[in-house]
Symmetry: D2
Subunit: 287 residues, 4 copies
C-alpha cells in the first residue's frame, strides 16, 4: 500500500488549535513571524508550485496531478491518482440538490457574478451534505487512538466501544445508515472495490465496516455503511487527514456547480422554481 503524504507531511493538527486559557504572561506585541506558503512561491513574475514552474506544469501535467502536488506536496502515484479521481467523480453531481438550487437562485439575482453563484453552492457543502466524510474520519481517527496491533479483535473492540459511547450520548454516528439501500449501499461497495485495486483498503476501512456491523448488532436493525463512511476509511488508509475528505468533496462538486451555472445561463429554471415555491407558500398561507 502506497500511503500518501504519510512520510513527508506530518498532518499534526488539522483544526486550528486554541489554547485552553489565554496566558496573561504571553507577549502581545511579538515580532511578525514569517508569512509564507509552501504551496506556491513567486520569483518575479514566475510562479512555482512546490518548486515546479507553473508554465511547465501547464504543458506537462494534468489537473489532478497538480492538485495533488498543491494539496499534498507531491505528484500522485498511479494508484493514488486513480483513487483521487474516483473520489472527485463520485460527488460530481447529485441532481437539483440544495447546493445547486442555491447556486441557481443566486445567479438569478446576480447574473453579473457567476463566481457568487458557485460560492453560494459551495457554502452548503458543510456538516450535513458534503462534510460527513470528514466528521466520520475524525470519529474513526479518535476510535483508533490507542490501537497498536489492529488485529480483527482490536478493531471489533474499538468499534464496540465507539458505538456504545455514541448511543449513550444519543449522538448520530456519521457514515452509517441509508434511507433507501436497506440491504447495503452499492456506492460503498464500489468505492471499496476501487480502493482495493489501488491498495487503499486497509485498517481504517475495516474499522468503518466494523462500526456499521456493531451498530446493526446493538440496534437490531441493519445499518449499512454509506458512501461517506466508506470514503472516510479510504482517505485515512491513504494517509490523508480528515479535512482532505471535505476538500475532495468540495473540489469534486465545484465542477458540477459550474455545469449547472452554465446551464442556468442558457436554460434558466430559477424563476420557475421560485414561482413553484411561492405558489406553495400562498396555498399554505391560505389554508
Amino acid at each position: 500500500m502506497t500511503r500518501f503524504a504519510g512520510s513527508f507531511m506530518p498532518w499534526r493538527a488539522i483544526h486550528v488549535s486554541h489554547p485552553i486559557y489565554t496566558d496573561r504572561a504571553a507577549p502581545v506585541h511579538k515580532e511578525h513571524r514569517m508569512i509564507r506558503s509552501k504551496v506556491c512561491t513567486l520569483d518575479g513574475d514566475d510562479i512555482y508550485i512546490r518548486g515546479h514552474d507553473l508554465l511547465d506544469l501547464t504543458e506537462e501535467r494534468d489537473y489532478v496531478d497538480v492538485f495533488c502536488l498543491q494539496a499534498f506536496g507531491e505528484f500522485p502515484s498511479p494508484p493514488m491518482k486513480r483513487m483521487v479521481n474516483a473520489l472527485l467523480v463520485s460527488v460530481a453531481d447529485h441532481g437539483l440538490t440544495p447546493s445547486v438550487m442555491a447556486a441557481r437562485f443566486t445567479l438569478y439575482g446576480s447574473p453579473e457574478a457567476m463566481q457568487g453563484a458557485v460560492a453560494a453552492g459551495l457554502l452548503g457543502g458543510g456538516d450535513r451534505l458534503l462534510g460527513t466524510i470528514s466528521t466520520a474520519a475524525e470519529m474513526l481517527q479518535a476510535a483508533a487512538r490507542g490501537l497498536e496491533e489492529w488485529t480483527d479483535d482490536d478493531i471489533a473492540h474499538a468499534a464496540a466501544k465507539l458505538v456504545t459511547q455514541y448511543r449513550e450520548s444519543k449522538k448520530r454516528i456519521p457514515g452509517i445508515g441509508h434511507m433507501i439501500h436497506v440491504n447495503g449501499d452499492p456506492r460503498s461497495t464500489r468505492m471499496f472495490n476501487i480502493a482495493k485495486s489501488c491498495g487503499y483498503y486497509g485498517n481504517y476501512c475495516k474499522l468503518a465496516i466494523a462500526v456499521a456491523e456493531e451498530a446493526s448488532r446493538q440496534t437490531g436493525r441493519f445499518m449499512p455503511l454509506n458512501a461517506p463512511g466508506a470514503k472516510a476509511g479510504i482517505i485515512l488508509d491513504m494517509g490523508l487527514p480528515p479535512s482532505a475528505g471535505r476538500a475532495f468533496n468540495l473540489l469534486g462538486r465545484t465542477g458540477g456547480l459550474l455545469a449547472h451555472v452554465l446551464e442556468e445561463q442558457q436554460e434558466p429554471i430559477a424563476a420557475d422554481a421560485w414561482k413553484m415555491l411561492r405558489d406553495a407558500a400562498a396555498q399554505a398561507d391560505g389554508a
Copy 2:
C-alpha cells in the same frame, strides 16, 4: 480542428436576457414550466450525468472527462482534454493573492467551516482577477460579428475598428498589456503553443493577436497580448462561450484555494498577516 460543443449545444444566450420593457399584456400567473436539468437526472437513488451512471463514471473516467461531460455535454476528445487540463492548470495558483488571503482570513474566523473559506476565495474571482478571460472573449465575439470570410484583412479591419471604439470611449481593452513582460508575455506564447498542438489555434486567436498589435500601433507603445487575452481567443476557437472561460478559471483555482486552506489549518499565517496589517495601520494613523 475539433470544435467542441459547436454542434450539439447552441450557446444561444450566455447572459440572462432582460426584456427591454415589462409588457403589461404578459400573463403573470402562467403555469409552471418544466423544472429540469439536462446536466444530471435521478432515477430513484441512481444518479445519471447526461445519461451516464455516476457509479460507472466513478470507475471508468477521470475528473476532467466528467467535468467536460457535465459542462459541455459530451466526453472530451484527446486534444480537447489536453487543452482543458492546460487551461485549468495554468490558473491553479498565483501565490498569496487577494483570493487566497480572503480564504485564509475567513478560515481564521470560522475554523468550523472550510467550505466558507473556499467560497470567500472564489468570490474574488470576478471582473478584475479571474474573469478577464470572459470579458475579453465577449469583446472578441462582438468584434467578430459581421465577419464572414475571416481573411487576414478582415481580421485586421475588425481589430482596428475595435481598438478605435475602445480608445474613443476611453475604455480599457481587456486581455492586453502587461506590467512586467514588456516584450511579450511568455504565458500567451505557451498557451498558444498548446492550442496549436491541439488544433485550437484559429481565427479568434488571430483576432486577439491583431487587437494587441493594433493597440500597440495606435498607442505607439508595445501592448502584448496577455494570458487572459490569449485564452479568450482559444476558448472561442474551441467553440465554447465566453462564460466557459470564467468557469475554467474558477475550477482551476478551487484546487489551489483548497491547498491553501489545508495548509492554513496546519501552518496558519492569517494571524501574522492580520498583525502585519494592523501594525501598518497603527503606524499610518500615528503619522
Copy 3:
C-alpha cells in the same frame, strides 16, 4: 434640503478605476502606501469609529446612527435618519425570494455555519434583485451630467435623450416598469412621500419621474417608475453615491435573511422545498 455627505466626502470615484492601458514606464516596485481606514481606528484595545469611542457609541447611539457615522462620516440629521430607516425597512423582506431560499438551502447543508447561510442569501443581491437601485442611480447621474440649471425643460430634455439612447441600443431602462401595478407603483409614491417630508425630494427624483414619463410616451404604454427607480432618485438627492443604494438594500435585507435563518433552525422548510423541486424534476424527466 440637508444634503448628506455632500460637503465632507467627495465621492470621487465609486468604481475602482482602471487605467486605459498599463503604462510600461510605471514603477513596479513602489513603496507601500499608507494602509489605513478612516472608518475605524484602534488605539491599543480601544476602538474608534470616525474618532468616536465604540463603548460610548454603544451606550449613547442606536444602530442606524452608527451605520451612518461609519458609512458616510457623520451622525445623521433627524430627517436623514428617518429616510435611512425607511430605505432599510422597505427592503427588509419580500417572502420566500431566491435569496431567502438560497440561505435556507445553505443552512440545510451546513447547519454548523449560520454565517454561510446569510452570506449565500446576500450573494443574490446583485444586478437583478437588490442592485437595480444602483444601476438606476448611475444612469440618472450620467443623464444629469451637463445639466446646470435643472429647469423643468432641462430635465425633460435630459430624460428624452436618455430614453432615446436606451431604446436605440435596445437596453432595458433600470427602475421603470412593473408587472402588476400597471397604473403606478404604490411603493414609489410612499417613498416619495417620505422623501418629501424629509427634504430629499429634489432634482434627481424629478428626473427619475421624467424618465418614466418619457418612456411611456415613446413606447405608447404606461411605464410606471418602480420602487428601485424612485429610491435611485432619492439617494442622489440625499447627496449619496449610487453604490450607497445597494449598501442600504444589502443591510436592510440582512435582517430579513437572519430572521429566515433563525426560523429555518426551528421550523425547517428546506427539506420539503427540495423534495418538491426533486419531484417536479422527476415528473419533467419522465414526460
Copy 4:
C-alpha cells in the same frame, strides 16, 4: 424583567436535529408538508411581515423595530430595543480585521459585485470571531439544565461543575480570558450596566460571572469574563436562544463591512495590502 420571546416563541430546537439512526421503516415518499414562513407572507403584490403591511412599517417603524418583529415575532419594548441596539453597535467594527480584509480583497478581484465582498466578510464571522457568543450561550444553557432554584449556591455549584468538566476534557471555556485587560474587561462591565438598566441582568449573567470566577480560582490566574461571555448571559436573560447572539453579531457587523466596502471603492487599500504581504512572503522565501 421583560423576557422577550419567552411566551410566544418556544425556541424548541435551535440546531437542526438529526435522528440518531435512519429508520428504515420511515416512509420515503411522504407528501409535501406545508412550505410556509411565519416571518413574511405575500398577498398578491403586498408584503406582510408577521401580519404587518411592509409599506406601513416603512413609514412608521425604524429598522431595529422591524428586525425584532421579523426575528422574534413582536415589536420590542423600549428596554428590549435599547438592549438590541447596544448589542448591534458594540460589534459594529473592530478595525482592519480578517473579515474586513477578506471583504476588501474580494472587492479588489470582483469590483462588479459589492454583495460578494460583504458576503466574504460575513463568512469569517464564525466560531472564533463573531460566533463565540453563541458557543458561550450554549454552554451556559447546558450548565443551567437541572437548575431549578437559581440560588447563589446553585449557580456557584453549576459553575464549578462546568469548569471542572472543561478542564478535564482540556477544552477552552468560551467567553472568558482576555489578552490585554488582565484586570477585567471594560466592555463586559459596560454591557452589564446597560443590561441592568434594561432589566436583562439576571440569572444567566450571574452564572457567566460565576464561571469566570471559578475558572480563575481553579487555575490560579485571573480569568476575566470577556464581552462575548457577558453578552451570552444577557441574551439568555432576554429569553433569546444562543443563535440569536450570532445573529446580532452578524447584523451588527454588516454595517461596518459595508462602510469598509464603500471606502474601498473610493480609497482602496487592498492593492497595497496585497503588495505588503507579497513582499513579506518574498523576504521569507529568500531567507
